[in-house]
Amino acid sequence: MSAPAQSPSILTDRADVGLTLDTDLARGILEGFIANELNKVGFERAVIALSGGIDSALVCAIAANALGPDNVLAIMMPYRTSNPASRADAEDLVSRIGVRSKVVEITEMVNPYLESRPEASNVRRGNVMARMRMIVVYDNSAEFGGLVIGTSNKTEILLGYGTLFGDLASAVNPIGDLYKTQVRQMARAIDIPSQIIEKPPSADLWEGQSDEEDLGISYEDVDRILYLIFDERYQAQELIDAGFSDATIEKVYQMVRRNQFKRRPPIIAKISDRTIEREFRYPRDWGF
């Protein structure tokens, strides 16, 4: 069976409709998720790495609603080169929603190592910082008696735009099934300051870094492509036939494919009749 190719505008419209959230409904589910996942394992408190960006701001606000602001500890962890505006945005958010907070500068922790690796690329340096923040957040979670709440969104996870055992590390992740553009819808709906919503997204691992420049595509465009291919199961060729850029589709698809390892636990060599995660597959909730 063949049909005339659909024009890009029809597919774009379809994606935009599909990506539109009922934010009230989603918010209720996410608040319930955080409360349920923490409470059933005996926790009432949460720890969140707050960067000043939209993802961690949204997670912080949802967690504050779910657990009460006093049960949420937001940790700001600037490095020497971090954008001061990020810190200001983070502190503004903390004061608005009333969560607990602390600032832990990571410069003096990270520098002794980086000084021994002067040749390290920006990506390596950024990974070291992300993993240092993970250490700080996890240690604070033990001290505070809370679980670490993740802030990686679906777009980042699919594209592999995150540091394994760094910012990708968490106990529970409320926004891992929300694309970046859906995170924006949620942020608007729960009154995250527009300054945080409107500024260009950045991992802020080096001065002037921009997500969209790193990725070579805007979040709006990449979310449409991801949604059509992975949620609606369009074939890449159908998108190309409809006028989407061949090179862009190929690039996005290959990024998702090549980063599959980041979405899976480390591979275990099979030897026995009952291997963890293969035949040994109890639900996570089994433990509680």
Binding site: I267, I268, K270, I271, S272, D273, E279
Partner: protein, 285 residues
């Protein structure tokens, strides 16, 4: 049965890469031809690899799409059995074994018993086949079965009752069960037991074509073999190497086996049918 030489292509397919695997098929077909083989068999899902999960929908092949043409072209010189994901016109996906001869597909068997227990998830991704039919190729009557099909002796029994002189089991069997101090993994030694048992009980050639290599941390331990109708292992592959395993199948060996132990002659199909009918009525009537 006509005498013929078989080559078992004990390969390690690349998971999800139909193009690369097709190239490897063409290479092994050439090698088998060079080794004087009349037929070359590949393992289960040889064109795609095994633990496909959601890739099933990307690697499924419509046999009339042209993708298989290079392979069909080579079958003028040598018969080919291979495994692939059959993307049907109704957009279901089935684990399939194809028998290709003289440039065309003579027969496709769809895996009847999908494995959905232990480490297996086939029933989530694939639709089951609903028939066990023989193929009358140039060497005689043969039967294609896929892996778990053979763990249900009824499928092999149907093949034998139907007169198949050669029963092929193409397989992807994850290596497991290292306890017991045997030199062989439990999973593969069970296969060798099955092959020998079926060959003797059905007085047929039992051909087991397995694979090697790793997928997502799981090892496939080779051990492909051809077992003669008296349970004699004519050739067996290594546990860890890609290779062509070659054996000669003769009608004379079938003759000797069936004279010594005429199980086929004595098979009572009427009785079997009667009792199966009764069981069916009692269970489903």
């Amino acid at each position: 049965m006509r005498d013929f030489r078989i080559g078992l292509a004990q390969i390690a397919p690349k998971l999800g890469d139909v193009e690369a695997n097709l190239e490897k098929h063409l290479d092994y077909i050439d090698r088998a031809r060079a080794a004087g083989c009349d037929l070359v068999a590949f393992p289960e899902l040889s064109l795609t690899g095994y633990f496909l999960r959601d890739l099933v929908h990307e690697v499924g092949v419509n046999p009339s799409s042209g993708v298989l043409d290079p392979l069909l072209e080579k079958s003028h010189d040598i018969t080919v059995i291979f495994g692939f994901v059959h993307h049907t016109p109704a957009h279901t996906f089935k684990s399939a074994a194809a028998y290709v001869e003289d440039g065309r597909i003579l027969h496709i068997h769809h895996k009847v018993y999908l494995v959905t227990y232990g480490l297996f998830d086939e029933g989530r991704y694939l639709a089951p086949g609903d028939s066990v039919r023989p193929v009358d190729g140039k060497f005689g009557r043969q039967s294609l079965l896929i892996c778990e099909d053979l763990w249900h002796p009824t499928t092999a029994a149907i093949a034998a009752l139907d007169g198949a002189d050669v029963i092929y089991g193409i397989s992807c069997s994850p290596g497991r069960g290292i306890s017991g101090g045997e030199n062989e993994l439990g999973s593969i030694s069970t296969w060798h037991d099955i092959n020998r048992l079926y060959a003797q009980l059905f007085t047929a050639y039992q051909v087991y074509c397995h694979r090697v290599g790793y997928e997502d941390g799981v090892n496939f331990p080779g051990g492909s073999e051809v077992v003669g109708p008296e349970g004699d292992v004519l050739a067996r592959g290594s546990s860890d190497r890609e290779e062509l395993v070659v054996a000669d199948l003769t009608d004379a060996a079938l003759r000797r086996a069936r004279i010594k132990v005429p199980l086929r002659r004595d098979e009572n199909l009427e009785l079997t049918m009667r009792e199966l009918q009764r069981i069916h009525e009692e269970q489903y009537g």
